[in-house]
Amino acid sequence: MADWVEACGVDDVEEEDVIRFDHGGRTFAIYRSPDDEYFATDGYCTHEKAHLADGLVMDDIIECPKHNGRFNYKTGVARGAPVCVNLATYPVKVEAGKVMIQIG
């Protein structure tokens, strides 16, 4: 059974932005969309080892800071070269002002 883990407070992420969350030796990226929803994906780009939390959020896209590879952070779908492999996404819920992600 996958566990729900507290990743951050709701105000720790600005609107249309992303932060890094490390847990259990793994790295995740926590997103807050322009319409104030929260999402979570793996923290590293699938192209090369770069922290997506250093990248740019535009609408529903996260752009990797290293080679500008783009993913839809809501679905994890890779949106063109140089990224070809989709990003893993994780369920997110907000409880008592905390952003929780379900890690398998």
Partner: protein
């Protein structure tokens, strides 16, 4: 003299770079607060639309001048302008749109990227991947596919680069080879297998347009179509080489700090328009997410941590010339640029393979 460096992407230097951790390494970055970086990274269509309109109007205007004055000496100034716009400024448009930073709107980046790739005789798929590698492994021998001047330097080759002849000789056969479905081992080393078919398709489009241009020239029995399409890659690429060579020439290789292997040079406004601010090249390599129009602001923010920029292209070439001459005998020699007292020092632990002889 035995050459120490194997610039093949599947050779001995490649093996060493991977084994020692130089490949896909962690690189030095100047600390920039997230808030400031987020602001610098913001995309906007405005500046690139403005610049692209000026660019297209200037290209079409100078092309019209060539057609109008064809057969007279008055054609020369129009050839000079058209050649640089076609053969040089297309490089910076290719570069920025390849990064996806010029415009906010994706299709605008893609459209200008495809047009500029054609003007440069570059396979748009191959070069997208080679440039990604260039950013992962900047001037790492055996990994970087875009090292312009290898060591020991071939000065004749570097001089000929200003004419575009060598690039033309390499680019056109590569397109034809790709069009026939042949992908070289070097190309396969940085292009994922699932993208290889796109290399062939793109090459066939390019070759088809060049073939149509040749047919038109024969039909009209005139060089004019070739002067407008294809040949500007020869007579107009000098500015691209003039500015582009300075990006890394004479500096360190096999290091993981862009302050050691990349150069920022202050340039005149015309060159900066043609080059789309890529004279701020250390800044671009450290933070490739920052659009060209924000690079001057990024430069102001982090210049305390970077070597002093060269005040002009002339200054930079004067600085690099003796280094190249020395490299003819000692290929390990390179220019190690001084950091200001406000900068974080170069980290030795990142540069275990840094070559020993530096000019300080």
């Amino acid at each position: 003299m035995e050459k120490k460096r194997d610039y093949s992407l599947v050779g001995e230097s490649t093996r060493i770079a991977i084994e020692t951790g130089l490949a896909s390494a962690e690189w030095y970055h100047t600390d920039v607060p997230r808030k400031a970086m987020k602001e610098l990274m913001q995309r906007s269509d405005g500046p690139a639309i403005r610049d692209t309109i000026i660019w297209i109007v200037a290209i079409l205007g100078s092309a019209a001048g060539i057609v109008w004055f064809w057969g007279t000496w008055w054609v020369v100034p129009f050839l000079l302008v058209y050649g640089v716009l076609y053969g040089s400024s297309s490089d910076s448009r290719w570069h920025e749109c390849g990064h996806g930073t010029a415009f906010r709107t994706r299709w605008m980046n893609d459209a200008v990227y495809q047009i500029a790739s054609f003007m440069l005789m570059r396979n748009p798929v191959t070069w997208r991947w080679s440039h990604a590698r260039h950013h992962t492994d900047t001037i790492i021998v055996g990994r970087d596919a875009e090292i312009a001047v290898m060591r020991p330097p071939d000065l004749l080759r570097a001089a000929l680069a200003f004419t575009g002849i060598l690039d033309f000789r390499y680019s056109l056969p590569s397109l034809v080879r790709n069009a026939f479905g042949s992908i070289s081992p070097d190309e396969k080393s940085f292009i994922p297998e699932m993208e290889l078919h796109k290399v062939v398709t793109a090459a066939r489009w390019h070759v088809a347009i060049y073939a149509a241009t040749i047919v038109l020239a024969l039909y009209l029995w005139s060089f004019l179509p070739l002067v407008l399409i294809g040949l500007p890659r020869l007579y107009g690429s000098w500015h691209m080489v003039l500015t582009g060579l300075l990006q890394h020439i004479g500096l360190a290789d096999n290091v993981t700090d862009h302050r050691l292997n990349t150069r920022t040079v202050y340039m005149n406004p015309i060159s900066r328009f043609i080059y789309w601010n890529m004279n701020y090249h250390v800044e671009h390599h450290m933070f490739p997410m920052v659009p060209y129009h924000a690079l001057p602001r990024l430069h102001e923010l982090i210049k305390h941590d970077l070597p002093e920029p060269n005040p002009s292209m002339w200054h930079a070439y004067r600085e690099v010339w003796p280094v190249l001459i020395k490299q003819l005998q000692y290929e390990d020699y390179f220019l190690k640029r001084e950091l200001p007292p406000t900068a974080k020092p170069y980290r030795d632990e990142f540069h275990a393979l840094t070559v020993p002889a530096a000019a300080e």
